[in-house]
Symmetry: C2
Subunit: 251 residues, 2 copies
DNA sequence: CGTCATCTTGAGGAGTGTCAATAACTGTGG
DNA sequence: CCACAGTTATTGACACTCCTCAAGATGACG
């Protein structure tokens, strides 16, 4: 692979966790480095699958268009995330979504065969892949549950909290790498609903100005969502968040 | 393992696909056979994880309760499905959902360590697990998309169609192993909504009486959902269904 | 024939989508 | 620096869907 990507970043990829440096080197020999500009596409709905990708930096929006012209954003990928493994492992021949760079991005590109072969031969890689998929499954089940049980503002509040916790950001002020339109699409809501929801979030200790998010009253914000979320009481993300929020609020 | 479960069934488990008979034997030595009656629990929310399960027969409802007393049914497992792998692979120590037998069921029970070890050592098992998780991810992304883009009756129609296609049932008359209450919970809707939705489905060529489902006018039923579903045009399930529906309708 | 669980039907209301008008922001070129 | 266009976001009015509560109907089973 090219030598012009931050070695630190590559070394800490979740997919390579637990491996020796030599293992990592060997695996990464199959990769090609690609630099994307805003708007570039990595994959397009219906196109034949050629590659598996690991995001090194930037933001990649995944989206799908319905026949009647609407579209959804099942996920937004950031550094460390992967793209294409679901299709490849499912033995599907075409991508089922579009992948577009929202901001400048760097990705590692692997041929499909690389993933197929190493998932079979390389135990640790398979295990890390399993872990990635299990996490994704979990995250989706949360979203799915929220869609049924929560109001739009609650979904937004919970999404922001989980994002903050996952990315290990400062709860008092962090940047959300989403325009409001993107946030709306990600949560399956309308832009207008988001706009109105943000007003309500202010009543519950969450202030959003532009792309800057700030949790002012942490307890209020938690209470707003916890009772409707079956995972709030025994879920690592929420615990992690609660700890971080309270720790940093004491400073 | 016990010798009193149908060998055919075990031999065709998706998780053991592609393996030699001897491999299967070896792997299954770690298993214990359990017989469940209606209402028995395999797992309970918050309880420590002790086992990984493969369903051999029967129906297992997965459910979660929220602090405010509502509950959701993220999935309903049938023969061939697995339980617990997400938690185990995620290194989570407690189940995040309840698993209750809806009708008499037979399951294979494996210790947690069995899964951890073999996922690492046994390439084919890891690959099959990856395939299972990838399929699940895909199924969830469909549901999630539907929740945002479809009306309740459309979600119901699509769910019934996919169920029929997946289980390879006769589209003209098949049994849905769900009470209406369970169906409602599975789709994150209210029982009343289901009830009213079924009336509307009759206008679109789908008749449901009790637990018996029948697609009377296939084209009408397809049209009712296809325009709102981004996967309808290039998704194996839908294609499979369309074929089967049309083939059998010509007889 | 009652009892319990399951389902249906009705009326009302909360929440979100939709459409339309306006406002704020971003970048470009004069 | 300002005018301009294009994108992105806010706000209002309205309709529609689904949830909620309540009353009844149906079905299974002792």
């Amino acid at each position: 692979m090219g030598k012009n990507v931050s070695p630190d970043l590559v070394r800490n990829l979740p997919l390579l966790a637990g491996m020796t440096e030599q293992d990592k080197e060997t695996l990464l020999e199959g990769a090609r480095l690609r630099h994307l500009m805003r708007g570039d596409r990595l994959a397009a709905q219906g196109k034949t699958i050629t590659s598996f990708y690991i995001i090194c930096s930037g933001v990649i929006q995944l989206s799908r268009a319905t026949p009647d012209g609407r579209d959804v954003t099942p996920d937004v990928l950031i550094a460390g995330d992967t793209l294409g493994e679901t299709e490849i492992l499912n033995a599907v021949s075409t991508y089922k979504l579009n992948a577009t760079a929202v901001k400048e991005a760097i990705v590692l590109e692997f041929p499909v065969a690389w993933l197929r072969k190493n998932a079979l031969c390389h135990g640790l890689l398979a295990q890390n892949l399993l872990c990635v998929l299990a996490k994704r499954t979990h995250a989706m089940s949360i979203l799915l549950e929220h869609k049924s049980l929560m109001s739009a503002p609650q979904q937004m509040a919970c999404f922001l909290q989980l994002f903050c916790a996952h990315q290990n950001l400062d709860p008092h002020e962090f940047e959300l790498p989403y325009t409001k339109t993107l946030l709306a699409s990600r949560l399956g809501l309308e832009l207008e609903t988001i706009s109105r929801g943000l007003a309500k979030l202010r009543e519950h200790g969450i202030t959003v100005t532009g792309t800057a998010v700030s949790f002012c009253d942490i307890d209020k914000a938690e209470n707003y969502v916890c009772n409707s979320c079956s995972l709030s009481k025994n879920c690592r993300e929420h615990e992690l968040l609660r700890e971080r929020l309270h720790n940093t609020s004491q400073k």
